[in-house]
């Protein structure tokens, strides 16, 4: 069996909170196989973005990786020196963000930024790197690619800027692409174009993708498997169909039911009561217990174990464990 493109085991990342530190990612484990798309899903503050940043050691200070193991291809990421880590980013794994404007330098042309990214890792002439950049722009379906390489970021629309970011991320043919809310800032018709592009590129290049998003519709479009996070922990994991059509964790079920949908109308939307508790109020047991409509008396006190529902489907929930035992 080939090594996963990314494997994360027991990851703990903390941020200062009051007098101590809050473990905003608390013992998270998952893997992404080569050529596979795994979606890490959850609402604001669940820790999905910090998890993604941790895998490339990009957690901003004063955040800190406390424990765990991250392997990219065969490489143990957390044991690399800073220069080794820098040379690996882009080559082994690249990242695209929600807001392309903050990732592009406004005073350089977009072409020069891609050329520089290529030449940072490979000894190629400027002309050769430019020719590669034009090809990359064509690959991400940027119209008039030869002219657009000389454009400044502000001259491009949001959709075109995100295409530039994807071209830059794929420039060195990384084995893993981490996409953090890649279409969230885009209008829906532009989002559809970018999703179509990502699906086509993923098929052509067989790049593994770790997709970070709150949008279950985007997940359905791109993901092979889904991992759901809540308050720093993974609560459910399974194939796209297992999670979207057969969710078992009460949080995943609540999330799916609270989504207004094009196909439904009239009846009140199911709500998840209350709000996500801040880290200072996390109970020793299940962190969803205070909002859970089916919580048992011991849910808030004891951490739920992982219940295996199929070879690919798991849920961390006392209620699911009881249902399965029955």
């Amino acid at each position: 069996m080939s090594e996963p493109a990314l494997s994360v085991t027991g990851l703990v990342t903390s941020f200062p909170d009051g007098n101590g530190r809050a473990r905003v990612v608390d013992g998270v484990s998952f893997h992404v196989d080569p050529g596979e798309v795994l979606a890490l899903v959850g609402e604001s503050g669940c820790g999905k973005s910090v998890t993604a940043l941790s895998t490339l050691r990009l957690v901003p200070r004063p955040g800190r990786i406390e424990e765990g193991r991250v392997r990219l291809g065969g490489i143990d990421v957390l044991s690399l020196s800073v220069p080794e880590m820098r040379s690996m980013r882009g080559r082994e794994a690249a990242m695209i963000f929600q807001e392309p404007m903050t990732s592009l330098n406004p005073v350089h042309t977009v072409g020069d930024q891609v050329i520089e990214a290529i030449r940072l890792h490979e000894r190629v002439s400027k002309d050769a790197a430019r020719a590669r950049t034009v090809e990359l722009f064509q690959e991400v379906r940027i119209p008039d690619a030869e002219e657009r390489v000389d454009a400044y970021p502000h001259q491009l629309s949001g959709g075109l800027k995100q295409r530039v970011m994807i071209a830059m991320a794929l420039a060195l043919r990384p084995r893993l692409l981490i996409a953090d809310e890649p279409t969230t800032a885009l209008d829906v018709t532009i989002q559809a174009q970018i999703l179509e592009l990502m699906r086509e590129l993923q098929r052509e290049l067989q790049t593994a993708i770790l997709l970070i998003t709150h949008d279950l519709g985007v997940v359905n479009e791109l993901a092979d498997r889904i991992a759901v996070m809540y308050a720093g922990k993974l609560v459910e994991e399974g194939t796209r169909t297992e999670v979207l059509a057969g969710a078992r964790h009460p949080y995943t079920r609540g999330l799916l039911r609270s989504m207004p949908s094009l196909a439904r109308r009239g009846q009140a939307l199911a709500e998840i009561e209350g709000v996500v508790p801040p880290p200072s109020e996390w109970p020793p047991g299940c962190r969803f217990a205070s909002r859970c409509p089916v919580a048992l008396s011991h849910c808030a006190a004891e951490l739920p174990a992982t219940t295996r529902l199929s070879s690919t489907h798991t849920a961390d929930c006392h209620v699911v464990a009881r249902e399965e035992a029955a």
Binding site: V188, T189, I190, E196, N220, P260, S261, R264, R265
Partner: protein
């Protein structure tokens, strides 16, 4: 004569593009360029479209937060567009607005009690501080906030709770119509569901009319009686919500609906039917403004501007709806 609470006719709000030392206008951004619609008392019209289509400017023009160049805003038989500013102020009592970002609309130094009571004081509602205080408590309970927390400051509340505060503040002056400008767009889905349900309950109980401005079509289906779709400053299609979703007539509406990803795992692979980007509202394309992106474009489209043809209890600005044949 229809018995509409609000009837908008031929609304035009253009913004000057200024240049040079003298800041002379050198062109116009046609943000709202000839818009007609009406909202009966107690009903919801959703105004949908992508960024830059002018939907927010429509909402702001109704309250004269932007000054329209042309057109009529009939509210309860009075043309608000023709009112002198002093009289317009009095009408703001009947028409309130709730924005996307509750942080920007709440003064961080003002206690929640005072924020909610501000409008009551301005319009002389409530007899003295004690009565106003009672009303604040009742309003907070109405939007499911704890009245005991009325002495707190906005930062002590979560994002969803702050949006409830904004809704309570709008309700305080007993409006007949509330403009909700992307009022749930910044919220997580589980919180969005709470706010959408609240808005619906309030409509049933108080007979409120809503102009619900949003880019999110799935929210629209949940809430709207009628839907108006905007593109580059114009309403391209308008009609009953069910009909718009089941049988869209305008190719832009079709494209918008096709671009919304579904969470049904059996329905994957959405089609990006609408190509390219939205052109600048400073130089809208000749003829039909949508023709450069339209998958159904034909020779007539770039040459003539389509009027709003009557179709399916609504209108469509597309030659395909021309009863004389396309």
């Amino acid at each position: 004569m229809s018995g509409a609470l609000l009837r908008v006719e031929g609304l035009r709000t253009w913004f000057p593009v200024r240049a040079g030392v003298l800041q002379r206008p050198v062109g116009w951004i046609r943000a709202v360029d000839g818009v007609d619609f009406e909202i009966p008392a107690g009903r919801t019209l959703a105004l949908v479209g992508e960024s830059g289509c002018g939907k927010t400017t429509v909402g702001r023009s109704l309250l004269r937060l932007e000054e329209p160049q042309e057109g009529h805003i009939w509210f309860d038989g009075v043309d608000l567009a023709a009112l002198p500013p002093a009289q317009m102020r009095a009408y703001r009592r009947h028409m309130q607005i709730v924005f996307q970002d509750p942080n920007a609309s709440l003064d961080p130094r003002m206690r929640v009690r005072d924020a909610i009571a501000e409008g009551m004081r301005a319009f002389g509602i409530g007899d003295g501080a004690a009565e106003r205080d009672d009303r604040v408590a009742a309003l907070m309970a109405r939007v499911q906030l704890d009245p005991a927390q009325r002495h707190r400051y906005p930062h002590e509340f979560s994002g969803g709770q702050r949006q409830r505060i904004c809704i309570a503040r709008a309700l305080a002056v007993e409006p007949q119509l509330i403009v909700c400008d992307e009022a749930t767009s910044a919220l997580d889905v589980s919180i969005q569901a709470q706010i959408l349900n609240l808005l619906r309950d309030l409509q049933v109980d108080l007979g409120l009319a809503y102009l619900f401005i949003t880019h999110d079509l799935s929210v629209v289906r949940y809430l709207a009686d009628r839907v108006a779709v905007m593109y580059l400053g114009q309403i391209v299609e308008e009609g009953p919500a069910e009909r718009i979703f089941e049988a869209p007539q305008h190719p832009y509406t079709e494209g918008l609906l096709a671009a919304v990803p579904s969470v049904d795992p059996g329905r994957r692979g959405l089609a990006a039917r609408v190509r390219g980007d939205v052109p600048s509202p400073r130089h809208p394309p000749p003829g039909c403004r949508f023709h450069p992106r339209c998958p159904k474009v034909f020779d007539r489209c770039p040459q003539e501007e389509p009027p709003a043809y009557a179709v399916g209890e609504g209108t469509s600005r597309c030659f395909l709806a021309d009863p004389e044949g396309a």
